[in-house]
């Protein structure tokens, strides 16, 4: 497992980009807004994601969590504002480097119409040539799918598919891994396996940005919490502080498990 997470692909620095003296933040969001059909879904979002740790985005349905994640990942073009990536200390890294620095696992992962192993191999070929020995085996072990390597990926259970998607994303060795409710609709045993893989990735140096509706999962995993409500960030604080002393009425109600409108 550690080989999957620790293998560092060779990188070529861009000639056009200049290095920052010290840039602890891989990702900064400034004044990000998103409007669709006249409706403001994200409103002046400012966010700085620290290098390490697990950031959990919480908020009621419709708060804009998935949209924010998609904007950060480049799947969604904001109406205004900027998403600044600092990759390897570069202030304006090339687009390709920015894309390589991140990966996303969606709530309903899309797997290729191939075997489990072929799905992992597809991702591995995007980064490595040749594929390092043991990389795929370790990824299978991480996903606990060794015994299903030759099975068609789309015939796996929901939990297995989610673990495969996670392992596939981690093969890319992203600096930031976005996870959109990776344990939604999974049983406790599958959730534990997913959380183990998330922790292992974080321990290996990958920044995790996770959306969840499970407060207990947030308590277990989060180093810091971003609380989103109606497209605005109401709180961004360490997890302990958020759960013990929420600063806003909405966050307090959310933590208590009350309906937040």
């Amino acid at each position: 497992m550690s080989e999957v997470l620790d293998f560092t692909p060779p990188r070529r620095p861009s000639r056009n980009a200049h290095r920052l003296a010290a840039s602890p933040m891989p990702l900064q969001v400034r004044g990000l807004s998103l409007e669709l059909e006249g409706k403001r879904l994200l409103d002046q979002v400012d966010l700085t994601l620290l290098d390490n740790g697990i950031t959990v985005i919480l908020g009621p349905n419709g708060a804009g969590k998935t949209l924010l994640l998609k904007c950060l990942h480049g799947l969604c073009q904001p109406t205004s504002g900027t998403v600044l990536w600092h990759v390897d200390g570069l202030e304006r890294p090339p687009v390709l480097e920015v894309r390589k620095a991140q990966a996303l696992v969606q709530q309903k992962p899309v797997l290729l119409r191939r075997s489990v192993l072929a799905n992992l191999k597809f991702a591995a070929k995007l980064r490595y040539s040749p594929i390092p020995q043991g990389l795929l085996e370790n990824a299978l072990a991480l996903a606990r799918l060794d015994h299903l390597a030759s099975h068609a990926a789309r015939t796996l259970s929901g939990g297995e598919q989610q673990r495969l998607a996670l392992a596939r994303a981690l093969i890319l060795k992203p600096k930031v891994l976005f996870l959109d409710e990776p344990a939604a609709n999974l049983d406790p045993a599958s959730t534990v396996l997913i959380e183990e893989a998330i922790r292992a990735a974080q321990s290996a140096g990958t920044k995790i940005v996770l959306i969840t509706h499970g407060l207990s999962q947030a308590r277990r995993l989060a180093d810091n919490i971003v609380f989103l409500h109606r497209g605005r960030i109401l709180e961004h604080s360490p997890a302990d502080k958020f759960f013990s002393e929420p600063a806003t009425v909405e966050a307090e109600a959310y933590v208590r498990g009350e309906i937040v409108l």
């Binding site: 799947l75 990966a103 290729l112 191939r114 995007l126």
Partner: protein, 238 residues
């Protein structure tokens, strides 16, 4: 009615006895059509996939053009290929007119737009599902096209069968550029037309029956590929 029945009986005998003339015509037909299909597939599949996932000015116009060319009249294709290959045409020096190669060219021109248009549709649907994942994985365009073609292989096989069916049943274009020369360019459709005009219904019927059997076989194969509920391609492992 007796003539009709007798013709059927004679046709059955020709097929059962594997009449050499009949076999020669059938084999040439299949050879020409499969050659055209291979060339069309090499052109049409990547072009259709590229058209499905790329965005560039004029793309919409190209899509409309490909869709419109699906209904290209075979005789017009035959005429155009004839003009290109005739001695006065730009490719006259190749001396390909009235050869099986000319027939392959005509069928290729005829079915390539079909393959492009249908491939584009299949791949566009698949890409709709895969696009965000490919973006997330940082998949370059050429890798995405190859992956989409591979993952859509069962649906694309249906596309190829549609092209095969269209090509093998075609008569106008191959008649013009092939000339229906005995032992050289005579294929099933042109032979049927000729034998019918001569009143020799037995051979025409025998060829017609084989053509029908091929059409039915192709359709059966298509159904099998998509069986049981169109999800076969979703559960196959590599």
């Amino acid at each position: 009615m007796q003539d009709f029945t007798g013709s059927f009986r004679l046709a059955g005998r020709l097929i059962a006895a594997a009449d050499p003339a009949l076999v020669e015509i059938v084999l040439l037909s299949i050879q020409v059509t499969l050659s055209a299909l291979v060339v069309s597939a090499l052109i049409g599949l990547p072009l259709g996939a590229t058209l499905a996932i790329s965005r560039f000015p004029g793309r919409h116009g190209l899509v409309i053009l490909c869709n419109a060319l699906m209904g290209l009249p075979p005789v017009v294709v035959g005429l155009l290929v004839y003009m290109m290959l005739s001695n006065a045409g730009p490719l006259g020096v190749l001396q390909l007119l009235y050869t099986p190669t000319a027939m392959v060219i005509a069928q290729t021109v005829l079915i390539t737009p079909i393959l492009i248009a249908l491939t584009r549709q299949v791949i566009a649907d698949l890409n709709h599902e895969y696009a965000e994942t490919f973006h997330s994985l940082g998949v370059p365009a050429h890798t995405a096209i190859a992956a989409l073609l591979w993952d859509g292989r069962f649906s694309l096989l249906t596309v190829l069968l549609a092209g095969f069916g269209r090509a093998i049943a075609e008569v106008g274009a191959v008649m013009i550029v092939g000339g229906n020369i005995n032992h050289v360019t005579r294929v099933m459709t042109t032979a049927i037309a000729l034998e019918t005009s001569k009143g020799e219904l037995a051979l025409a019927l025998a060829l017609g029956l084989i053509l029908l059997a091929i059409a039915l076989g192709v359709n059966a194969l298509t159904s099998m590929i998509n069986a049981p509920d169109g999800k076969r391609s979703h559960v196959r492992s590599a």
